[in-house]
């Protein structure tokens, strides 16, 4: 009986993100359209888009078709696994199965899937895309890792349920936690790969970069993974930085969690709609500055501030 609950919880989380992610995308598109004085597609459009792509012919156009297929499956599988490790209105289902280090690894793996996908496609544009993706990853992943480690320092634990519960603030509001909140807000667009940091895909420069050779069902799964990514990172952000109310009784805490996620999606939308894309060198300089700040926050945290 004991093993059944984590499995059920995991399934609930996976089902929830799979259901909600396209809706979030729909909200994002609709709000973007309104900002741009357009009508915009109906909220359910992303579901139809996915279905349509899934129903298309599966064309193998890249250099290494098997690797391409594998990268796609792995990409979606990784983000869905992460979904089981993030508390979404109740404790993380696979709480005991791993710690925050596993979480960091899995998040990195989802980035590596993009590299793999681009590499397997093997076109010049996808290779340019993955070289940008790689540079972004190297500069970006440490930011989240530092945030999690700061939480771990404050709570003296690597356990998921301890860290993913507003741990960056520990007890009270230490300076390091607030600094890290700022850093994460400023880099959040990059984690979810939206303008101004959609540099690796950069439609008007690289024609979607790593995904340039993907079509039909494979593209559908990749797009799905990207939509899920937005939800997962929003969930992580909520868990780390705005955990209040998550302890409420079942429907309340759960509803509150999704409300917070939607607020983040709206924020992402507004920022994306009001910015131009940065160049990779400008972005890297920006991330490097954030990294320095986050390291200062880490030092502060280790002194208990």
């Amino acid at each position: 009986m004991k093993t059944i609950w984590p499995i059920l919880g995991g399934l609930v989380n996976v089902a929830m993100v799979l259901l909600v992610a396209p809706f979030c995308e729909g909200v994002l598109r609709k709000v973007t359209a309104r900002i741009q004085s357009r009508q915009g597609p109906p909220l359910r459009q992303p579901y139809f888009d996915l279905l349509k792509l899934l129903g298309k012919e599966d064309i193998e156009s890249g250099e290494a078709p098997r690797m391409q297929r594998f990268a796609v499956y792995l990409s979606l599988a990784t983000v869905l696994t992460v979904a089981c490790l993030v508390p979404m209105g109740f404790a993380a289902p696979l709480n005991g199965a791993g710690d925050v280090v596993l979480l960091i690894y899995l998040l990195t793996l989802s980035g590596i899937c993009t590299l793999l996908a681009g590499l397997a496609a093997g076109s010049t544009y996808s290779l340019l895309g993955i070289s940008r993706e790689m540079m972004t990853m190297i500069a970006l992943e440490p930011l989240l890792a530092v945030a999690i480690v700061i939480g771990a320092v404050h709570t003296q634990s690597f356990r998921l349920d301890t860290v993913l519960n507003g741990s960056v603030y520990g007890a009270g509001f230490p300076l390091s936690g607030l600094v890290m909140l700022g850093v994460m807000l400023l880099s959040f667009q990059a984690f979810v790969q939206r303008v101004p940091f959609d540099i690796a895909a950069a439609e008007t420069e690289l024609m979607d970069g790593p995904l340039v050779e993907y079509s039909g069902p494979k593209l559908a799964l990749f797009k799905y993974a990207q939509m899920v990514r937005l939800v997962i990172y929003s969930g992580l952000f909520v868990a780390l930085f705005v955990p209040w109310g998550s302890g409420l009784v079942f429907p309340l805490g759960w509803l509150l969690f999704w409300a917070k996620v939607f607020c983040l999606v709206l924020l992402v939308t507004v920022v994306a709609a009001t910015h131009a894309r940065y160049r990779i060198d400008q972005a890297i300089r920006y991330f490097a500055a954030l990294l320095v700040v986050s390291l200062v926050a880490l030092i502060l945290a280790s002194y208990g501030r």
Binding site: L128, V195, E205, Y278
Partner: protein
């Protein structure tokens, strides 16, 4: 007369080298020289008298004079003179000294003459095929008069590829185009990339062959051509329409009535309004700022509607005939146009106020795609690209046509030489256009729309006309002919020169800046890809051969 002064300077320098000179008007100068004199005269004009290079034309004049002819056109922008240096070549020796080493801007035009007319520019630094498609057999020159407009040459080789230069050591090749989300039309840049840095490129364009000039010279008549000219470009078509009409009118000295001139001015400025707003939106889209893209297009839309109200079409106004215009601007249209302008001005002010403070856009555009004064001179860059480099040229003021000499406006210049400056120039020109249209509406008086033409147009006259298109100066050259059609008509669209500056603009900057740098000249490939006959398509792929494609197309058609 300044034209005479210039001629005297030339005569003083070259003496008998100048065989003949025509001054058909105060602002036109045609100088005939021996083939051997072409290069020194052009060098003197370009370097010593600081004339701006416009274009070169080759023509097969054998049925009339038994000779070939080359013309190199220059402009004295301060003096308001358009000038042609012409030389006749014997039919059995179609060679002339290339001027490209002293006038680099002539590079493309001379290669084009070689492709289409078969006049060999001797000493040209880069004699590669430019205009003809890859499979076209050597030695067949479609613009020669003995080649019929529907001629299909023997030995067309659809499999023959284009031989590109070798990339420099250490560079990988990134193919950009023919199909790319930011290219609206086919063009191919072979970029040499080192990491993220572009170290050089080779351009292969001219992929859409429509045979427009050939059709005009062999099938259509004077008053058909304006409608065809308009279809050269989907954005600045009216410019070509007006420019062609003006070239013929200047050749045969047939001024249009004043009201027609005002209407031409109004339509040209309406076109500039919609073109600049379109460019602005696309530029924002290229750097990923889609909100401004959409807003810019929303603001632009009423301009399209008013154009439709006036001419019946959003684009392709079918405005001009020789000696006049076809559409009247009625009092109701005047009122509607004024309302559109007021709304546009208010909305555009708000956009510009927001953009000029936006550091995000400046980060992507400042210091990018640099074209300085020297490059402008050497490559003959024009329009907003030149004005953004502080070169104060605008043929609306320098070579006034239509009603531009009767309205008051400023020529906007900036000194940044970069994409940001071009953006500012275009943004501010929107206000100038609004100003011009308002003055025209104010000043235009009732009168006829069309000058009456009693006789056939005289034969063998030369006509030059320049019209400031939204993206730079369009230039039309015409030789009038028999059978109610021109003997030769040559179109030089602004992108033809501006595109030649792009390799220098994108060199040694990031690949990410390539698209916005190219976009910043407001490229219009269809204007450039002007020539050639027939519906042959090169570019057969592994899956579809050219024959299969043709078969497929024809099967669908029946």
């Amino acid at each position: 007369m300044i034209a005479r002064e210039r001629l005297n300077q030339l005569v003083k320098k070259f003496g008998d080298g100048i065989r003949r000179a025509d001054l058909p008007a105060d602002n036109r100068l045609f100088v005939y020289v021996e083939p051997s004199g072409v290069k020194p005269v052009c060098e003197y004009l370009f370097r010593n008298l600081d004339a701006r290079y416009v274009t070169s034309i080759g023509t097969d004049d054998r049925p009339f004079s038994g000779k070939f002819m080359v013309a190199h056109n220059f402009a004295f922008d301060r003096d308001g003179i358009l000038c042609g240096v012409l030389a006749h070549l014997p039919a059995d020796n179609t060679k002339v000294d290339s001027i490209s080493d002293v006038v680099p801007a002539a590079n493309w035009a001379e290669r084009e003459i070689r492709d289409l007319v078969g006049i060999e520019p001797v000493g040209h630094p880069y004699l590669k095929r430019l205009v003809l498609s890859d499979g076209w057999p050597d030695g067949v020159h479609p613009l020669r008069k003995d080649v019929a407009w529907d001629f299909v040459p023997e030995g067309y080789d659809g499999e023959r590829g284009f031989k590109f230069d070798d990339p420099p050591a250490g560079c990988t090749v990134v193919p950009f185009g023919p199909f790319h989300p930011t290219l609206d039309e086919p063009a191919h840049f072979r970029l040499y990339v080192e990491g993220e840095m572009v170290r050089g490129c080779e351009y292969r364009g001219f992929m859409a062959h429509r045979g427009i000039e050939k059709l005009a010279e062999s099938v259509l008549t004077y008053n058909d051509i304006p409608m065809l000219a308009e279809r050269i470009c989907g954005i600045c078509g009216c410019v070509h329409n007006v420019c062609y009409a003006q070239a013929v009118e200047s050749a045969v000295a047939l001024p249009p009535p004043p009201r027609a001139e005002y209407i031409r001015t109004i339509m040209l400025e309406i076109e500039r309004l919609h073109s600049h707003l379109l460019w602005f939106g696309l530029a924002c889209h290229i750097v990923g700022f889609d909100t401004l893209f959409m807003q810019s297009f929303r603001i632009r839309e009423p301009v399209m509607w008013i154009a439709e109200k006036i001419s019946g079409n959003r684009k392709t106004y079918a405005l001009c005939l020789i000696g006049g215009v076809r559409w009247e601007i009625t009092p109701e249209l005047k009122a509607a146009l004024r309302a559109v302008l007021d709304k546009l001005e208010a909305e555009w002010r708000r956009v510009i106020a927001a953009v000029s403070k936006d550091r995000n856009i400046q980060k992507r555009t400042r210091g990018i795609g640099v074209a300085d004064k020297k490059l402008v001179k050497e490559v003959g860059l024009i329009g907003p690209v030149a004005r953004a480099a502080g070169v104060d040229i605008d043929c609306r003021r320098d070579h006034p046509y239509a009603a531009y000499d009767r309205v008051d406006f400023d020529v906007i210049t900036e000194n940044g030489c970069d994409v940001w400056s071009r953006l500012l120039v275009r943004a501010k020109e929107v206000f100038e256009s609004i100003k011009i249209i308002r003055q025209c509406l104010e000043k235009m008086e009732p009168g006829p729309l069309q000058t009456e033409i009693r006789d056939e147009l005289p034969v063998g006259r030369l006509g030059l006309a320049a019209v400031e298109a939204p993206r730079g100066e369009s230039h039309h050259f015409i030789v009038t002919g028999q059978n109610n059609r021109p003997r030769r008509w040559r179109v030089r669209a602004p992108t033809y020169q501006n595109l030649q500056g792009v390799p220098a603009m994108i060199k040694d900057q990031q690949l990410a800046d390539m698209t916005i740098s190219l976009g910043s000249i407001d490229p219009c490939f269809s204007c450039t890809d002007r020539l050639e006959t027939m519906d042959l398509k090169s570019g057969a792929t592994k899956v579809w051969t050219q024959e299969e494609l043709l078969k497929l197309v024809r099967a669908r058609a029946t």
